[in-house]
């Protein structure tokens, strides 16, 4: 055979030569040999001939069927990408893969599936059913003989916070580490209820890793679907939100802040925080969402961080110690918590640590500012003075609840104290007073709505909750009444009733859409509360109210 005559040591190089894989030196040697060796030259020609023929075999063009099925596959795989796969899906996929790879008899498959099912049942019985039988959990409710708090009508309490423990990483040692278990608010007075717990009419739920006002980035289609489910005009609502965010972005100062253009210029920190919260609630964060809004949020967060006191008696306070600064601080704390929470896995370690330390200081300041009566007022209490007001207190407890939910340490005593205060100002009819029980000014309805939201949020066993809901609903049902001039009432109501599983947004969403200016803002001139903080505050508050329609799943 001719091949046998090919020179040893050269043959192995011929293919490489034909493919241009030889070094210049080696190539020259081989080519020199080919010039003098006919057998090797013939072999080289054959090899080149094979490559030539192979090159003549035409490539096929992917068919339309392939492209279409690829599109379907991509859509399916995106839905089932690893981070979104359920444990059940992974388990079934693994079993399917096992059966696919290992050729086993149908009987063996059946036996394996049977064993797996029995194992799951055994686990459920062992860890869920048996402990409940052995140690039944008595529902815990509060009772207050003075105000009429009774065990009746105690609703099921939702989870308040699920601490991941992540927030505790690298926190200064003076901050206790966040609780890693499911944390529930435990009232100080306990009474075993004999009344069956009642679920909400249409349960809504916080997603496991969402914040109080953030739920990650939602697509427009999901938003529209959820808006439509509540009977709202999806296009118009999303358009109103987009215009409001555009307007707000144009209002941001160079230092990242938003001015308090109302009667009180000292709310700059609070207005900034509220605006940022509105962006966060719509899915625009430091790392996600529309790039222009991402920039707004990043700048605003920088402003808040830079305005925090680092030392001294006011260590942790965000914003200047002027005016009613605890309002500013509470909203800023809430916003920083939500900003960190939504981006916790995407921030750089340095940025994350900076935020965690700032939040730890801010939460500690709120705890320090709580009065012995359990509430908060405009300033840190000095000496034995203990003035409280429910309006400020609601913001503080929202910030603490958000912090606890995100895994930060928010002591139960602070929640206990607030509950004590709330009981003290709640009348027998359910109306929540401003400075004391029985305050019946027009703020009372706003505060009642706020208290209702907190009661739902924390799962407080407040037996007057239904009565409070009726009072608030009566206000909301009157389009020419308080509802039209009270953004805070709408904000609290939207969230409280979403948690109660009732849709109230349909009562005032049309009014909001109608009253929005062409530039996307809302006028605060006639608003009871926003008149002090200005248009940016009310615009942000309204955006938060509208986005409550799609932030809750279920």
């Amino acid at each position: 055979m001719k091949r046998e005559t090919i020179c040893q040591g050269i043959e192995v190089e011929l293919t490489a030569l034909a493919q241009g894989e030889l070094s210049p030196g080696r190539r020259a040697e081989v080519e020199q040999h080919l010039a003098s060796c006919g057998a090797c030259r013939t072999a080289c020609d054959e090899i080149r001939g094979i490559f030539t023929v192979a090159g003549e075999i035409e490539d096929i063009v992917p068919s339309l069927r392939f492209k279409r099925s690829l599109e379907r596959l991509l859509a399916r795989e995106r839905r089932l990408s690893p981070e979104r796969e359920s444990i059940g899906f992974r388990l079934s996929s693994s079993l399917a893969y096992l059966f696919h790879r290992v050729r086993v008899s149908p009987r063996f498959r059946l036996a394996t599936v049977s064993v797996a099912v029995h194992a799951v049942i055994l686990l459920i019985v062992s860890f869920y059913v048996l402990p409940k039988i052995a140690d039944p959990v008595m529902p815990v409710v509060m009772i207050d003989p003075d105000t009429g708090f009774t065990p009746a009508d105690a609703p099921e309490r939702p989870e308040v916070a699920i601490g991941s423990g992540e927030a505790a990483d690298e926190l200064p040692s003076e901050y206790p580490r966040p609780d890693e278990r499911v944390v529930r608010f435990e009232p100080t007075v306990r009474f075993p209820s004999t009344v069956p717990l009642q679920p909400p009419e249409q349960p809504v739920r916080y997603r496991r890793f969402s914040g109080l006002f953030t739920s990650g980035v939602l697509s427009s289609s999901i938003k529209e679907r959820r808006l439509a489910a509540l009977g709202l005009d999806g296009d118009a609502t999303l358009d109103a939100l987009a215009r409001s965010f555009n307007w707000l972005a144009s209002e941001q100062a160079e230092d990242g802040s938003f001015a308090s253009s109302g009667r009180n210029p000292n709310y700059r920190t609070g207005v900034t925080a509220t605006v940022l919260l509105a962006y966060l609630a719509d899915g625009h964060s430091q790392t996600r969402g529309t790039p222009a809004f991402r920039k707004v949020v990043t700048g605003g967060i920088r402003y808040l961080l830079d305005s925090q006191s680092r030392r001294g008696a006011l260590k942790g306070l965000i914003g200047p110690s002027k005016g009613h600064y605890t309002y500013n601080h509470a909203i800023a704390t809430l916003t920083l918590v939500e900003a960190w929470s939504i981006d916790r896995r995407r921030l750089t370690p340095e940025r994350s640590r900076e935020l965690r330390i700032a939040i730890g200081d801010a939460v500690a300041f709120i705890v320090k500012a709580q009065t012995p009566a359990g509430g908060w007022r405009y300033h840190v209490p000095v000496g034995g003075a203990s003035e409280n007001d429910t309006s400020v207190s609601l913001f503080q407890i929202m910030a603490l609840a958000a912090a606890r939910r995100a895994g930060f340490d928010a002591p139960s005593e602070a929640f206990d104290g607030f509950t004590t205060w709330l009981k003290r100002v709640t009348g027998s009819g359910g109306i929540v007073g401003y400075l004391r029980r029985g305050d019946r000014d027009s703020d009372a309805r706003t505060l009642t709505a706020g208290a209702l939201f907190i009661e739902e949020l924390l799962g407080l066993a407040a037996p007057l909750r239904d009565r409070q809901a009726k009072l608030v609903l009566a206000d909301l049902a009157d389009p020419s009444g308080a509802m039209a001039r009270d953004g805070l009432l709408r904000f609290y109501s939207a969230h409280a009733f979403r948690l109660r599983g009732r849709n109230v947004l349909e009562l005032f969403a049309p009014l909001l859409l109608e009253s929005q200016r062409a530039n996307g803002s809302w006028s605060s001139a006639d608003d009871r509360h926003a008149v002090h903080a200005g248009d940016a505050f009310l615009t942000a508050l309204n955006a938060l109210t509208l986005s409550a329609a799609y932030r809750f799943a279920g």
């Binding site: 490489a16 054959e46 001939g49 023929v53 192979a54 090159g55 075999i57 096929i60 392939f66 690829l70």
Partner: protein
């Protein structure tokens, strides 16, 4: 790919556009079946999505994609009931007028010379069959090199073997192809 790995789904269509044809043709030269090759290419894209987190910048994207393709092919190859067998000198190979002749017969023989066009077509068909007769590892190296135009160094990364092994497998593949197509050379 880094954008896609980091969660940017919009980056993936670009990857699909770049690799769909190379992947389909990679599998086509291994199976010579359009539908099978498209199905296999589709599965490679699915694996790219599922394992996108494992992509490292140190690997060239084409190397990464073809490594997945190669692993998938090996899985499928081993499962195929009609997996190609190692050829022997007594195995029949060829189409048309050459079909039915054993290599032992055709090595020394010479058939009637067909018209040039038919001849070229027959040669291509013969080459297809010959490629299918290559041992699995040689066939992969041959297809990656000849069809995909990968350099030996790139093939070594895809196959996770030394460059020297790529070179020797390529040589072995070519030697076998020359053997299988020997009769055509003799005719020429």
């Amino acid at each position: 790919m880094e954008r896609f790995r980091d969660g940017d789904d919009d980056a993936f269509p670009g990857i699909v556009a770049r690799f769909q044809k190379p992947l389909v043709n990679f599998f086509y030269r291994l199976t010579w079946d359009r539908f099978t090759s498209e199905d296999y290419a589709q599965e490679v894209f699915a694996r790219l999505i599922r394992h996108r987190k494992s992509y490292r910048r140190s690997a060239k994207l084409s190397t990464y994609v073809f490594r997945i393709a190669r692993n998938y092919w090996i899985d499928r190859y081993r499962e195929r009931a009609n997996a190609p067998k190692m050829t022997s000198l007594n195995m029949t190979v060829g189409t048309g007028e050459g079909r039915g002749l054993s290599l032992g017969d055709t090595v020394e023989g010479s058939g009637p010379a067909p018209a040039e066009e038919l001849k070229r077509k027959e040669i291509r068909e013969r080459l297809k069959e010959a490629v299918e007769c290559l041992p699995e590892e040689q066939r992969l190296v041959f297809v990656l090199s000849e069809n995909q135009g990968l350099k030996y160094a790139e093939i070594s990364e895809v196959m996770e073997i030394p460059v020297g092994t790529v070179k020797s497998r390529m040589h072995a593949a070519m030697r076998r192809l020359r053997d299988l197509l020997k009769d055509l050379s003799d005719e020429a």
